[in-house]
Amino acid sequence: MKRNPSRKKSSSGEEERALLSKMMLIRKFEEKAAEQYTKEKIRGFLHLYIGEEAVAVGVIQALSEEDNILCTYREHGHALMRGLNPGVIMAEMYGKVEGCSKGRGGSMHLFDVDKHFFGGSAIVGGHLAMAVGLALASKKQKKNNVTCCFFGEGAAAEGEFHEAMNLAALWKVPVLFVCENNLYAMGTALKYTHAMQDLEKKGAAYGIPSVAVDGMDIIAVKKAAEEAINYIKESGMPYFLVCNTYRFRAHSMFDAELYRDKKEVEEWKKKDPIINYHQVLKRKRLITKVQYDQIEAQIKEEIDKAVSFAEKGSWEAVEDLGKFVYSE
């Protein structure tokens, strides 16, 4: 089974720089998306992942290309990490036909079935049971792939969470449930939404091995995800990984952030996964200034290309409105 190239071992720091570079790509891509939003190039909802990058990068690097991924509406980072071209993601946000969902989905519904990337789902908790179904199919088809399902702690308060965890454990199917606990279900804090705030403890009720990890630390996430995937591949059983993280930006572009203290945000920014990991690599002499600048320059070029691709994209003909309702 093919592994993600970033997992190739290297003594020169290549693997480490790849992790950093993926997180930087996500960060810069989303900063550009926010900019394009203020220019009204992107409309609708735009949920930024800024601050949470270590989770998508740390988990997805542990997956193989055949493993399925399902995400929430805050999924630009996951799509980039899965290898969707930044151009087709940007074009999708623009609503252009060249987008990864032909412009029909927008920011919240990025799909690429060839890459086993099953969206962008925007009903909180609604994709958990689908993930169980994909894993059930893998089991029935005797495939050795894992289905990885990302969701927030808000989803863990939905009945869907209970149903999906129970079904996954009952049917013994290979799902990795990844809870991206960013502490706020839109604007309501964890302490106001969960009686049991150590979310990993919920897994025990289903007999699912459950681990919580510092989601701001790429190395911790990476290690935990690799252990989880190894467990699932060996046992065929579900696993619950809670990544405790934080979003630095508002819930969406409409959010005035009245519900949290600026000081709290500043405190969390000290745990910035990108800045901190860069520091680690510098300390370990795994990255030079030149290498860092090169990464930045490459990313800038890639994002400029993505914007230009989206700008040059085309609008679907209104006559085609009725497409994709039924198969043709």
Binding site: G99, S101, V113, A129, V132, G133, L134, A135, T147, Y326
Partner: protein, 333 residues
Amino acid sequence: MADENTHKITYREALKQAHWEALRDDDRIFLMGEDVGRYGGAFAVSKGLLKEFGPERVMDVPLSESGFVGAGIGSAMAGMKPIVEIMTVNFSLLAMDQIINNAATLLHMSGGQVNVPLVIRIGCGIGRQLAAQHSHSWEPFFAHVPGLIVLSVGTHEDARGMLAASLKSPDPVVMLEYTFMLNREGEIPADPFTVDISKAKVRREGRDISLITYGNGVYKCLEAAERLFELGIEVEVLDLRVLRPLDEESILSTVSKTHRAIVVEDAWKSVGIASEVLARISEKAFFELDAPLYRLCGAEVPIPYPKHLEDASVPQSEDIIVAIKKILGHDSV
């Protein structure tokens, strides 16, 4: 109509045979639902299938309507062909998010990438004195949703043939079955046959007036038509059978033939299937009409428990006969 070309079968047996055949013919097909295995199906439709095909193909599931419908969607996305049974339509609201926001929507919001070849079978209908929470007719809810194919199994022929046709669909199918009819015997063709799930079907030819109906209404309309025939009134009965997408051509065709129409359904009158059918006739066949359009629908009340009130809640054959005589100005009214 019994002759050497047909044979007698109960509605339940017809459904069961359809399942047996589907499971036999395609390894990707599996049945999952509450009590479908060890219990034999809440209505004994799947009795014996677990023994025949084993627990991987006939899966009992917990009471998690949203969860197992969602799992059905996920496995369909990955190339399986699940038949998901929701025991009764009354519980289907618990899965409505999955049905509407996922099954019906994924193809569109993925720009045509994600097919959901899923069949959801749901027992439904009134008539067994089960009171307000267990007697619903929610065909209009499902038929409202683009992306779904909504079938109403109003005859034994369709009970036997619709599942196979549904399993060939690349898009999600909601098959509404009627628990009131399970023990009823009917005739189906003796030779193997296929059902076209894109077309309505004329169940009886007539020239004087069209009864347009589906589900529980089909046999009631046929009964009314038979009795009116004795009075010299020739009624055409059109079984819609596909509630979405509606077979408009067949609707306009019967109206153009008889120039009069009544729509009969058990569902609540306001914003129902009848509303839609009559609107389409008004839009596209208005000048074909020789009499005002009419509908006989469910009374707009939660369904009550006592038999006489339950019967009064939905149109009966007698109501249909009275309505037709009125419209035709028949002197026996």
